[in-house]
Symmetry: C2
């Protein structure tokens, strides 16, 4: 049996990806000009599909970058003239703040320790509130009420949500946020090399206004440039066309399966894994507070048992992800993405329960 | 018979790419962590292979971006505090200059009309001299003596060469330039979504010095950041790992074939196509000056015959590229990349000669 990758991205490919790849090669997708009608139709499929999958309102737009890391940079460059505020509870939320700081912005940080989330949304003077819905390093997800709570307190501030390793699972209320983004190698189960940036008209206005007042918002990948091409179902540069083709296919597969089914299965798989970790005498969930436990990236505190458990699982064809940063060597991470089937999760749970140290 | 794409990129895949793709899927390359030893070995294969293929000196380094367009932006951001100078003879050299201008740099431009190159290198006061070796829009290649002539006149100025649609064909003297770059969907025959940036220690010094004096050189893809990760055979962000895997395979295929053979075949194919265009009663080469004629992108001035010739060729399975910008509708472009075989080129030439209007 082929081993199953549970590292939280790049992870296991979504099970239809190889078929889409074969079809794409037969149709010579890699040789398509990114200015051709054929390519525009592929971009349109992604756009139509994602709008439906995520229930995006009309005032939201979609653009492609090379990675979510690029969106960290471009969002600061295009939405922040002076100050951004960041909620940091792990390595990836910290990197977003670090990029803002490298770009010379005044960067306000609200920090809690790893494994924790935040209690209350507050008022801020910054131009952008940056929230990481799912901290891939620690398996903490911010409750949606927390994320949605910023709007009323900060009506004139943009709210951006890094949902790299959670979308399409969370059902955001897009009237309460201005932007969200993800990368395709997480829940969408694609090879890496594409970031998807969702933003509303308020973001565009802010970026245009910054440009007008002489701020440098970048060049080909400034938000207005990305948007101008997106309106034509194009991209400013020759993009990763094959990834866009694969995304079109997988989004349509997700729609056929139904987002409610995907969410229900995600909940089920998360529940049985957390239950197994809660019950286990030797290991436990890293995130103690139930309401903060991520459904898409589940982190086990494995301490001295880390290597042996990892080997025990690998012996059964289950490849756990290593802990990240401070968690390396004493934690294991398990992606719970749409590609991971209920059967694979049941086998994972049984295998963890069988582990005697 | 499958039709052959002659558009100058994305073009026909190199004929080994599908095999490398199948092997990559079997080895689960898309699921590899970009921090794993396995991935580092793939990056190392690219690096070792390209050094050999291009005969790079030790003081040159290699980094990956998402596109050559990104390298236009990053090179200005990292190598130019105030002024760059650009030699512009077509749409792509013009876009490079435009990006410098969008980033707020004082941009000096030496311009000649489309189909022409420049006569003499000159002295400049700028910090960076930007040359486009192969203008993909018009099929003009700058002679190597012209490119190499800037160093003696401008010993303290960086020279960067956009070789997007020509490398690995041109044999640059790397003691006369500081940087070169290409994208993989041209001569390397890969799906698009990866730029390769080659730069020397002088570029790194300049970028570090700019950072020290308070200039903003970007964040994760600043030159020092790219270099720091490249030293470990890594990348700052999760990159297009599949493209890097494919590039490793194709570079090794090129080495097995031998760069001299690739160059000789390129010369042969270019010679027979230019000869056919020179002889033809209805069409002619767009570039009149022999020494400026690109070997890798050959542009035909097809005037009123454009659509009929394009259809005539398509009927024989030969898909010509449209003219670009002002050439659209009155020119056709033909990529002459390593993937285009001598037999395909002979068939193309015969088919053009058969065209009676």
């Amino acid at each position: 049996m082929k081993p199953v990758h549970f590292a939280p991205g790049p992870s296991e490919l979504y099970f239809t990806v190889e078929d889409h790849l074969r079809l794409g090669l037969r149709q010579a997708v890699p040789s398509l000009s990114h200015r051709s009608k054929e390519f525009e139709r592929i971009v349109e499929r992604v756009s139509v599909g994602l709008r439906q999958l995520l229930e995006l309102p009309d005032n939201f737009h979609i653009a492609f970058t090379a990675s979510a890391t690029e969106i960290w940079e471009r969002s600061i460059q295009n939405l922040v003239a002076a100050q951004s505020t960041h909620y940091v509870n792990g390595s990836f939320s910290a990197k977003y703040a670090e990029i803002a700081s490298q770009l010379g912005r005044n960067t306000e940080v609200t920090r809690v320790s790893e494994g924790h989330a935040f209690h209350q949304p507050t008022r801020h003077h910054a131009e952008l509130i940056a929230l990481t819905h799912n901290e891939t390093s620690t398996g903490v997800a911010l409750p949606l009420e927390f994320i949605h709570g910023f709007r009323t307190l900060n009506p004139n501030t943009l709210v951006i949500v890094d949902a790299v390793s959670s979308l399409p699972f969370p059902q955001f209320d897009f009237s309460k946020i201005d932007s969200a983004f993800f990368s395709v190698q997480k829940c969408f189960g694609l090879p890496p090399g594409l970031g998807v940036w969702i933003f509303n008209d308020r973001c565009l206005d802010k970026s245009n206004q910054m440009k007008k007042s002489g701020h440098r918002i970048g060049s080909y990948h400034s938000l207005p440039s990305l948007h101008q091409f997106a309106l034509k179902n194009q991209t400013p540069e020759t993009p990763n066309t094959l990834a866009i083709w694969l995304l079109a296919g997988v989004v349509e597969d997700f729609l056929r399966k139904g987002i409610q089914t995907i969410r229900r299965e995600t909940e089920y798989k998360a529940a049985i894994l957390y239950q197994a970790l809660d019950q286990h005498p030797l290991v436990k969930p890293f995130v103690l507070e139930n309401q903060w436990r991520s459904k898409t990236v589940i982190v086990a505190q494995t301490g001295d048992h880390t290597q042996r458990l990892s080997e025990h699982l690998a012996g059964r064809g289950l490849l756990a992800g290593d802990g990240y940063g401070p968690g390396k060597g004493n934690q294991l991470r398990f992606a719970n993405f749409p590609t991971h089937s209920k059967e694979q999760y049941e086998w994972l749970v049984d295998s963890i329960l069988d582990f005697k140290g």
